[in-house]
Symmetry: C2
Subunit: 207 residues, 2 copies
């Protein structure tokens, strides 16, 4: 494929994922028609099938693209970076269609016969990366296991956003995320690290 | 209504909820036909409509009935009772259709247009009850808020079971639940209470 054709293919794929996310976010999996997605993306059926063989493949791609929406405040690293990622996530989950659709599909996937843990494992790996830095810097308790903490966090965040969605349409998700860290930090971080880590809700809006 | 007719109505309602749970657990909401549920329950359409006007009302009743499946070890109370409830939950979620369907429908309800927090709020209230006892016994840290902890726990457990389901078909859920408590207890319970609380996975099987 020529460079120009390659660029076009990448753009088409991106447009399909974004449009699919918007439609999935609005209508859910069952209500999302492929025709609607193609119209929104301005893409032909043939072009879609070059990238995705089915609506289910599109849903899988949307689920896997969640992390593209998250950019934690520059310069933060280790434990602070992990906290920041969750705060930004809590804010963006209220407005970003790619993130909203990814989370919605991940949670509801059983209803359309999927069982794909990829998005959860991607989050786990991103969290382990932060926790490994935190451990190297001496910020974690001696018996804290980055892998186990990361798996718990992925589950906990998934459930907390679902609870928040049912109770408040996610209006209180940022506050709940801060509260989660207040409960969790004593079990994973050293007292020194806990004093240093900033839990201001404002950080969820930082770039 | 005579006493006999009342008893029969209660039994019919119970049979419908149990049968609906079995069918929802197996086929999900979309795949669960009302005819299948009626056949399984041995109930006529007319008898069903006396109790439930629609499949959606049946689903709501199944979601709300989750706690009927949980009986923690006798004699445990306060913080230990709360831990025990989650361990029994982790075990029974592998086999009990009423619990499995309740949790599945609660998580997937967005896919069929429901937004019903009742089951989550029932869990929250049951947890607050245990935590209030724990607080009265001096087992909680001074700044621990039973209501906030309970809301976080409902979300966390919901997400952890979903993660466990995707990774292992819930085979590792009991282990993950024990791990959750090891991470959480330092943030909510006094050192004395933490030493006393038993986290043996075996307690999930106790009656």
């Amino acid at each position: 494929m020529s460079r120009i054709a390659q660029d076009r293919a990448v753009r088409t794929r991106e447009a399909l994922i974004i449009s699919a996310a918007e439609i999935f976010d609005e209508f859910g999996y069952a209500g999302a028609g492929v025709t609607k997605i193609l119209e929104r993306a301005g893409v032909t059926t043939g072009a879609m099938y070059f990238h995705f063989k089915s609506k289910s493949e599109l849903a899988t791609a949307v689920m896997s693209a969640q992390q593209q929406s998250i950019e934690p405040p520059q310069g933060s690293h280790g434990l602070q970076r992990l906290v920041d990622i969750t705060l930004v996530w809590a804010v963006r989950l209220r407005t970003d269609p790619l993130l909203r659709a990814g989370v919605r599909l991940s949670v509801e996937q059983g209803s359309f016969g999927l069982q794909d843990a990829t998005a959860f494992l991607n989050w786990r790996d991103a969290i382990v990366e932060c926790l490994d830095v935190a451990r190297d810097e001496g910020d974690l308790l001696a018996d804290a296991d980055p892998h186990a903490i990361a798996e718990f966090l992925v589950g906990a965040c998934t459930g907390v956003q679902l609870y928040s969605q049912l109770i408040s349409g996610r209006e209180d998700l940022l506050r709940r995320t801060v509260g989660m860290w207040r409960m969790l930090l004593p079990g994973i971080a050293t007292p020194q690290a806990r004093q240093r880590v900033l839990l201001d809700a404002d950080r969820g809006y930082a770039v």
